[in-house]
């Protein structure tokens, strides 16, 4: 299970809701990284042998291995291309966003 983008996060609206200096919760994601992406990794599951090199090398940990086929969290994939580059079976291709 990966952390998830909190789409309806309640940002402080009044001074009383913003504490000065004190601790805040860890593991809170309020903004996505998807907008950084120029190329999107697309997995061809039929070629995947689940060697998991993409999973281990992904700088952002966005590849999931809990489903039958590997999954990609496009909210947090930046499109760096490490997964496609390291895939020994060329099962991941980088596709330009918007195409």
């Amino acid at each position: 299970m990966k952390p998830r983008l909190i789409r309806d996060f309640h940002f402080p609206a009044r001074p009383e809701e913003l504490a000065f200096g004190v601790c805040t919760d860890a593991g809170v994601l309020t903004t996505a990284n998807s907008g950084w992406r120029v190329f999107r990794p697309v997995l061809d599951a039929s070629k995947c042998i689940r060697c998991l090199f993409c999973w281990v090398y992904c700088p952002d940990g966005v590849i999931g291995k809990e489903e039958k086929d590997l999954t990609i969290d496009y909210d947090y994939c930046k499109g760096c291309g490490v997964c496609a580059h390291e895939c020994p079976k060329k099962a991941i291709s980088m596709v330009k966003e918007g195409e």
């Binding site: 952390p3 809170v28 994601l29 090398y57 952002d60 940990g61």
Partner: protein
């Protein structure tokens, strides 16, 4: 070249304890940290000084670490975790890891004094240095861990300038000289080896240090998908080595039978593109000298 490991990727948790960081695409620092946290688990207290990792993992209310996470001043990683570990001990917290994570600037330069203090006192902490070989957070300035000849914004290369004119500081030797219980080098391109070392460190008490080679597409000047490729080439060409220091003894985890030409590693990176055949030769000669020393120490 393979490394024996008890780790199977498939056995590792899919849970990510570092997620959604604003690091550059292809960042190796996050690979090092997310893999380390897979081994160390949720009962880890992370401390990061001002560096790439801190700048990209917290800006209220977003926090990319899912474990306890504090930010400290640039020189203060080691001293802050020393205090955290002292408090953990006094509070009787069992089975927790106090983990400092800093870059090469925060470790080999401005943070070295505090780190030396931690090693001398043998405080019960793990210190992980992700070494991207320059001050990347401030925009690629040379550090004492920047390799010889590398271009940075403060070691320019061009007319009459040949990049950094000094050799890098050997952090592994410095830490080992403190006679800490455990000290190792690793690379993000060798994840099994990295995780083995983190697991080994976790099981030991006292000051433990892991120095992780972490290629940086932005600072080194290569396209982001090649982070692992350059990490491997550094090791295969003998310009980075995987070693451990434990119980007073040094061990090499991987000794290439023959080194790949340095040029293979160097020529694709923008920071080395001013280099000539003569520079490659000088780098290889220096590499061979270093390896001779290394092998002698392993023998002895």
């Amino acid at each position: 070249m393979t490394i024996d490991s008890k780790f199977q990727f498939s056995d590792l948790s899919d849970q990510e304890l570092l997620y959604g960081a604003k690091t550059c695409p292809g960042c190796a620092a996050t690979i090092a940290v997310r893999l380390a946290l897979k081994v160390l688990g949720e009962r880890t207290f992370v401390c990061v000084p001002a560096c790439c990792l801190a700048a990209t993992t917290n800006a209220y209310p977003q926090v990319s670490f899912a474990v306890n996470y504090v930010v400290t001043a640039f020189p203060a990683t080691a001293s802050t975790i020393a205090g955290m570990a002292a408090a953990a001990e006094m509070q009787g917290l069992e089975d927790v890891t106090i983990l400092g994570i800093a870059g090469d600037g925060g470790t080999a330069d401005i943070g070295l004094q505090a780190l030396s203090g931690v090693c001398e006192r043998n405080d019960n902490v793990i210190y992980l240095c992700y070494d991207n070989e320059a001050y990347m957070n401030t925009g690629i300035q040379r550090s004492s861990s920047t390799p010889w000849g590398a271009w940075t914004t403060t070691s320019p290369a061009g007319e009459g300038e040949r990049g950094k004119t000094k050799y890098r500081k050997n952090l592994f030797d410095i830490i080992a000289a403190h006679r800490v219980p455990y000290c190792a080098t690793a690379s993000v391109a060798y994840p099994m080896d990295l995780m083995e070392k983190v697991a080994k460190a976790k099981a030991i008490k006292g000051a433990r240090f892991i120095h992780v080679h972490a290629p940086c597409p932005t600072g080194w000047g290569y396209s982001s998908e090649k982070t692992i490729e350059y990490g491997k080439l550094a090791v295969e060409s003998g310009l980075w080595y995987l070693a451990e220091y434990e119980n007073g003894e040094m061990k090499l985890n991987l000794t290439p039978k023959t080194f790949k030409p340095a040029e293979l590693y160097l020529k694709g990176q923008r920071r080395f593109r001013h280099m000539t055949e003569q520079d490659y030769k000088l780098i290889e000669e220096n590499r061979d000298r270093e390896w001779d020393l290394l092998k002698e120490r392993v023998k002895a």
